[in-house]
Structure formats: structure tokens, C-alpha cells
Symmetry: C2
Subunit: 321 residues, 2 copies
């Protein structure tokens, strides 16, 4: 971890080291050296994920403000940990800060990151702070742990497994994509209930279901009326009603993305176990359909109409890598 | 790890998953899921470092070309692992690619990263590929391992310890900053020889020595004629000779940065052990001076003149965090 050459960057790095403080066990060393040190815990696997959020692609800095941008940069990574059934261990945060912004930007970003990190016991173990003549970029790497061999991957679903989502979908552009809660607690419960496959819905239900099916070499039949549709999906549909490409709330729930709910498959015999351990404080997950042994995705509408479900924005080619 | 919404990005991600292939043990799962999975090895600590390289700050894409940029992005992180005495375990690579460049840019970057990664047994375990309307940014997180409790930090040096550097310094802007070899083998040998503190020289000998001294709560006396000065430091001095701010080769060796040699402290009684295990293929490390119990840095010139050594670009304030 280096700090660049500018006094401004060095000042930010100094502030950060103070703000982060001493890390809890199993971290032996946090920021301030060439690398952070983690003592290994036998009996666990570690999982690693990394995501960048980029100005004008993933957020508009002027609209969202630095706090929600920093929060999102960590939250999307925590969502990936949740999708494996992992518990956070820590994270590393790299910033590319526009030179025409003051050090206040870094401070606001990092305060929001440290706040969410504290909420999920995911200490910031290091990072890299830079300024440049480019837009804001925040790159986070998150580390999680899982009892050895127990990670829930995308590829374990079998025909007949039930398909679930943990919450309402669609219209996240109206705000949810910036303030969603990563489903870490639910991810761990789903793992302990022996889910066969899991993914977080980052690119839209239709595309992420396609990924899960492709990895598992199965298909899916889902039921339109069982898909939980968010209020924002309805609002988005209304906003588009007068436009050139009117859309239904269902279309937004299927294709919008950045819901960061969990999509998972579970053998039917594990259903009772899942429901008995589901936290009372969380709405029950919605059963949206089943895995099938056809290598295709279908959606059934009320009154029995069945149509192919296309993964939005992607040419549907099963069987190809 | 997500892939964004564009078919272009999805195509790059597909290419990458093919190019990376199956990871060696102790990786259980590489790219293509929500997170990569690493089986823990008892008896080892893990170390984590992250560095971003940014267009027009750390490189000029037109001059360096994508291959050297990709190489540098990984190499600076490997240098941080070397500075702890660690052995690489793997890395994660995130790309922010300018939209006006074709997918060839990502391919050239990643080929160079995979080549260096292969050379140092540091498999690419995951990443995040994005396109945006900004300059090129490459963010790498590297993971290394060290026998438990044996990491060489910055803070262990004591008065009397000898100070070493592993190679010639200065003038890296002429090319060395793009094609240096991370000193991983030497870092491990230095650790095994019971060095008391170590840092890689990324921001210049004077500043990085200051960091080592500050962390160790000691000072240093170094000897100008013992500092190994690179040919490029001489060339840089010649290039500046006719300019407004002429410089000596020594000034470049002290202050230029991006040498990525190792600076370390070693108790004198461990010197024989270090020299007996030093690889015959590497030039012997230069003993540039000693740690002192004054909290200040001094440099002695031939004929006995002694002056304070200022960390370049940084207000010298010992005792302050």
C-alpha cells in the first residue's frame, strides 16, 4: 500500500489510519505498513470478492453525494459475500479522487464506508489513496469466511429444487441501488439450510437466474405472479407509461438489476428447515418457481400462458461457455 | 464480482475466465462465481495489499503501452508482499476501461498481468471488469502468506541495526518504474535472516527510510558514498543539467521513488547469516548506514560533512503520528 507523492494524499492517509484505528482479531496488523496481516483460523475457507464503483456509470456524485457512494462501494461487495453464505472478515478500499475535489470528499466517502463496515463487522484493513485528473473511482476488495467446504456456489442446483428470492425487485434506480442492505444474515441462514446454489441479483433476475442455471446445467420455470415486485418497479412503470417504450412493473422486476436481493435454489426437503430458522424480523422469501431439467428458462403467466424468459441484455446461448 | 451490463464487458469477462483457467491449490474456486474461495493453511498468516495505477498519474498509456501498464499494476503489489517477506498466494484485478478503447486493451493488460502472475505463482483469482467515460484505472489486490508471526514490518528496527538496500536507486522514470522485478525471493531470504524491519522503496529512499524510522521510533545515519546509484540516476542528472533546477545523481537516488528495491534493517549479529544465504545470482545488498537512537535522519558525505536528511516532499516531524 503506497500513498502517492502529494502532501494532500499523505494527509488523507494519516487521517484514515487514525479513523480506522486498531483492528480486531483475527487481524494482527491493519493499515500503515506495506500490507495488512490476518491470522488464519483453521476450519474455515476464506472468500474474496472485488468490485469497483465508477462515477457517472454506477452513480452520479452530485445527486447521490459522497456518503451514499462510499456506502454503495462496500455494500456491493458485502452482497457478494452474502451470496456465498460468508461472514465478513475485512476489506481494503482504494480511492481515485478527482484532483479538483478537496480532501473532504475522501473523508465523507470513508466515514460512510467505516460506518457500514462497523455495522457488519467488516474492518477496513488497508487501501490505497490517490488523486488524479479523472472521475471518482472507488475499488473495494472484501474478505469473508465460511466453515470449510460450505460455500454456496452458483453451480449446485438440481432439477426440482425450489427457487427463491429474498425481497422485492425492480426500480432500484430510484434509490434502492444506493441504500440497499446487503443480505449477510439471510445468506448465512440460507447456507445453513443447505441451499444448493445462490447468487446475488446485481444484473437483474432474468440474467442472474440464467447464470445460476447455466452454472448448474439446469433450466427454470418461474411464475410471474409469484415474483415480488417492488413499489419502485411500479413507479418506474408509471414513469415510462407516456414514453416511447412503455414497460410493466414485472418487466422492471425481471430486468432492472441492482436489487442486491439473494436468488437461491433449495431442495424441497430442506424447505421446513429454512422456514423454521428464518428470522421473524425478515419477510419470508418468495418461492418464484423451480429448477427444471430442460436447459431453458420459462415464465408462466396467470391463466397458463408460458413463454421463454430471455436474460435481458444478453444473447441466450445455453451450453456455450 | 459483477460484470456490468454491457455485452462488451460480458465478452471480456468470458475471455478472462477462459484465460485464467482452473486455479492451483490452495484455491478451491477462482473467477466466475460471486467470490473466489481459498482453503486456509494452518501455520501461516495471510497478508493483503492493494494498489491502483492510474492513467496520466502512474503511466502514460500511449508511451508505455497496455502490457507494461498491466505488468506494473501487479508488480507494485508484489513489491509490497516482498516487503513483508511474503510468498504470493493470488491476486484480484479490477479494470476501469475507457469506453473509446476496444476490448483489445483489456486483453493486452490481462495477458501481461497473467504472464507476471505466472512467473511469481500468483494466480488471478477474480476481479471486476468495467467500461466508463474516464481514463484507464487498474486496481490490484494481492494476497500473500508468511509463516505465522514472521512478517517483517516497518516498526522493528533498533539503534545499531545495519541499514541495507537491495539495488541501485534513482531515475526510475526513465523506464525502471514500468519493468522492475519485484524482490520476492530476496524479501523471503531477508525475512529468514531475521531482519528487524523492511519496506519497499516506492516513494524514494529518503521518505521510505523516514517511514521505517518513524515506525521503529529510531533515527538513521547513512553514508552518501555507500548509496547505490543507478545509471538512470546519472542520466536524469545529465538531463537536468541545463535546466532551471540542476540535480546530482545522489539527489535522484535519494528522492525519485518507484525503485521498488527493498530497504531493510538487520541486527549486526545476523549479517553473516544473511550473506551466507544470499543468492549468488543477485548482487550483494548495499549497507548504506545504521539506525541510531536520535529521532532524526542524517547523511554523511565524503570528507566528513554531516547534514540532516530531509524526506523529500514531506514536512519532517518526528514524534507526530
Amino acid at each position: 500500500m503506497t500513498s502517492g507523492h502529494l502532501n494532500g494524499e499523505l494527509a488523507i492517509v494519516g487521517w484514515l489510519e487514525q479513523a480506522i484505528g486498531k483492528l480486531p482479531s483475527p487481524w494482527i496488523l491493519g493499515p500503515g505498513d506495506d500490507a495488512a496481516i490476518l491470522r488464519q483460523e483453521p476450519g474455515h475457507d476464506l472468500v474474496f470478492t472485488t468490485d469497483m464503483v465508477l462515477e457517472n456509470e454506477c452513480f452520479r456524485l452530485g445527486e447521490a453525494g459522497p456518503a451514499l457512494v462510499g456506502r454503495k462501494a462496500l455494500a456491493v461487495n458485502l452482497s457478494d459475500l452474502a451470496a456465498m453464505g460468508a461472514k465478513p472478515v475485512g476489506c481494503l478500499v482504494s480511492l481515485a479522487l478527482p484532483k479538483d475535489e478537496g480532501p473532504g470528499l475522501a473523508e465523507e466517502l470513508m466515514k460512510a464506508i467505516l460506518s457500514l463496515a462497523g455495522q457488519f463487522n467488516c474492518p477496513v484493513a488497508g487501501g490505497d489513496t490517490n488523486t488524479w485528473r479523472g472521475p471518482l473511482a472507488v475499488s473495494v476488495t472484501a474478505i469473508g469466511k465460511i466453515p470449510a467446504g460450505k460455500a454456496v456456489r452458483r453451480h449446485g442446483a438440481s432439477p426440482g429444487d425450489l427457487l427463491f428470492v429474498t425481497g422485492p425487485l425492480g426500480g432500484s434506480i430510484l434509490g434502492h441501488h444506493l441504500n440497499f442492505m446487503p443480505r449477510l444474515d439471510l445468506g448465512a441462514i440460507i447456507r445453513e439450510s443447505h441451499a444448493s446454489a445462490m447468487i446475488d441479483i446485481s444484473d437483474g433476475l432474468s440474467l442472474d437466474l440464467w447464470r445460476l442455471c447455466k452454472a448448474s446445467r439446469c433450466g427454470a420455470m418461474i411464475h410471474a405472479e409469484r415474483i415480488p415486485i417492488s413499489q419502485d418497479a411500479h413507479r418506474e412503470s408509471e414513469l415510462h407509461a407516456a414514453g416511447l417504450r412503455p414497460s410493466t412493473p414485472l418487466m422492471h422486476a425481471l430486468n432492472d438489476g441492482e436489487d442486491f436481493e439473494l436468488l437461491f435454489a433449495l431442495p424441497q426437503e430442506n424447505l421446513a428447515g429454512l422456514m423454521s430458522t428464518w428470522p421473524a424480523s425478515s419477510p419470508k422469501p418468495a418461492i418464484i418457481g423451480r429448477c427444471t431439467n430442460e436447459q431453458t428458462m420459462l415464465i408462466e403467466y396467470p391463466h397458463g400462458l408460458i413463454e421463454p424468459l430471455e436474460p435481458h441484455g444478453w444473447v441466450h446461448q445455453f451450453g456455450q461457455k
